[in-house]
């Protein structure tokens, strides 16, 4: 398309302004994480200083936020693994078999995206509590309890995204293997999985981001043993203590893996964010 020079210049100007508005708070904030404590709150801000890692050391070791980091990793990875183990076969089932109600079920899965977390979080808290009182079986403040709860938003997403990858493959691929002497499971393992592997990785990483950033359900259901990084960040709200450097150290620990993953996942991002409705 031919675009007039003036129009193009204006487009560049506006988009650059948008990008700057995105970058300023992110970069300036992140910078604070590397500032020594004395200049955290200096105004006007100090732009040039000797960067230090002492804030990270303080939050991770002294404040013991490494425990939150550990919890976040366990819960995010665990819930993604469970979502994949259950969701990938389901996605295959939806992609390959037409049965009564299959279309309705897929639409129902999309509608799960609309449910406000309070609607599931509240009864989950009560259910865990009552369950513990009744049977002594404690899911409260366990990693598994949160992993289970996270399936409400991870599992439908895995199914929708993976279904898209399976639909793109010809069914004849595994059928061919089945005629050639393999069971359906054998054909899936030897022929289909090697092909959709990149899709599974992309789905896993995207779902990891969603689990990693989750705050609300963790706030309701996590306790001392399971509190996650976003919850740790939440504790820095307390205004009386202006620990900006520490706060941004935690923020950066939350942001870094996600930003790295995003650079690799740009293509899949839209698919994940829109539930793959747009294909």
């Amino acid at each position: 398309m031919v675009v007039p020079v003036r129009e193009r210049a204006l487009s560049y100007a506006i988009l650059t302004a948008m990008a700057v508005l995105v970058l300023i708070p992110v970069l300036a904030g992140s910078l604070t994480a590397f500032k020594p404590q004395i200049i955290w709150i200096s105004s006007p801000p100090v732009w040039f200083f000797e960067p230090t890692l002492e804030n990270f050391e303080f939050v991770l070791i002294t404040r013991q936020n490494w425990l939150h980091l550990r919890n976040s990793l366990i819960i995010s990875i665990g819930s993604v693994v469970i979502a994949l183990v259950l969701g990938v076969p389901a996605a295959y089932g939806f992609a390959r078999f037409r049965f009564r109600g299959s279309k309705g079920l897929m639409q129902w899965l999309i509608s799960l995206r609309m449910i406000p977390p309070i609607v599931v979080g509240l009864p989950f808290y009560a259910m865990f509590l009552f369950l513990e009182r009744a049977t002594g079986l404690g899911l409260r403040d366990t990693h598994f309890g949160l992993i289970l709860t996270y399936q409400t938003f991870l599992l439908p997403l895995v199914i929708w995204m993976m279904r898209g990858y399976f639909v793109e493959l010809p069914a004849a691929m595994e059928e061919s293997a089945m005629v050639e002497g393999y069971t359906r499971i054998g054909a899936l393992r030897r022929v289909v999985l090697p092909v959709v592997w990149p899709g599974i990785v992309a789905t896993a990483l995207l779902n990891f981001i969603f689990a990693w950033n989750e705050f609300f359900l963790a706030l309701i259901l996590a306790g001392n043993n399971t509190s996650t990084l976003p919850m740790a960040a939440g504790t820095y709200v307390v205004r009386a203590r202006v620990e900006w450097g520490n706060l941004f150290a935690v923020n950066l620990i939350i942001m870094m893996p996600v930003i790295v993953l995003t650079i690799f996942l740009r293509q899949q991002l839209v698919k994940g964010l829109t539930f793959g409705i747009l294909e």
Binding site: L15, V26, F97, L122, P123, I220
Partner: protein
Amino acid sequence: MKPDVATQPGGQSLSRRVYSLTQRHRHWFFIGPALLILLTVVIYPIVFSTGVSLFRVTFASTSRPFVGLQNFERMLGNDDFLQSAYNTLYYVVFSVSGSFLLGFGAALLIRRISRGRNILRLVLIIPITMAPIVVGLMWNWMLDPLFGLINWFLGLLGIPGQTLLAQASTARLMVVLVDIWQWYPLVFLIIEAGMATLPRAPYESARLEGVSSWMIFRRITLPLLRPVILVALLLRTVDAFRTFDIVRVMTDGGPALTTETLSLYLYRTAFTFNKLSRAAAGSILMLLVIGLISAMMFRFLYKDIEVG
């Protein structure tokens, strides 16, 4: 041909009948486990919540009298609930429209440039990938009346430090602006992905026929983008409707409930004031409203695209 025993149902061996049966129901083998978990983690809680909302249940007491729809009545007659419902509506209207206009605009603009497109896109994606709570904390710092960058800028312009988040007149707007800052890139990303799939032929023929740019946009681009636009609006609406994280860390509902959202209010009702049943009733009401809104948008959507 002579009658064959195998054609009689009784002549089939057990293993063959089992094979035939598993063939017919093989989809449940794949879908069943996931469905079972979803029923446990989604349907059961909702049913549970509905049940709780009909009784008076607290975390402390063991007596649970049946109270019918009383919890719903109390909720709907509660000023704080209505205030938070009004705030939520405010968020939905302004955050959705603001992020949509900005995102759509950015998508239109980026189609007009070629060099640097990828890097600009990558930068604009950053806010989406950040945890909302991180975004909220970051803007707390930006808006801090003493040390924040915003007030420093304002100070350079000779404007004295503002407590933008502590004033009832500005707090709600600030929270909405931060929400827009985080989510207009999502609209941008969706619309831009939709634009990339538009067919070229209608544009080329329209241009050759001398149709004006505005007419091309109205008569070709907008209709073709309809499903994409609907998806963007749908996602933004349901997300704005349940806003929690950002408000929780920026204002925690204050000052004087001016930024309280439904999610926040229900959270407080259940966990601060220990009124489990009333919160359950409120969450069921919330579910009904969001269900209604998304059902309406879905109906528009399914006219355009085939799902499942």
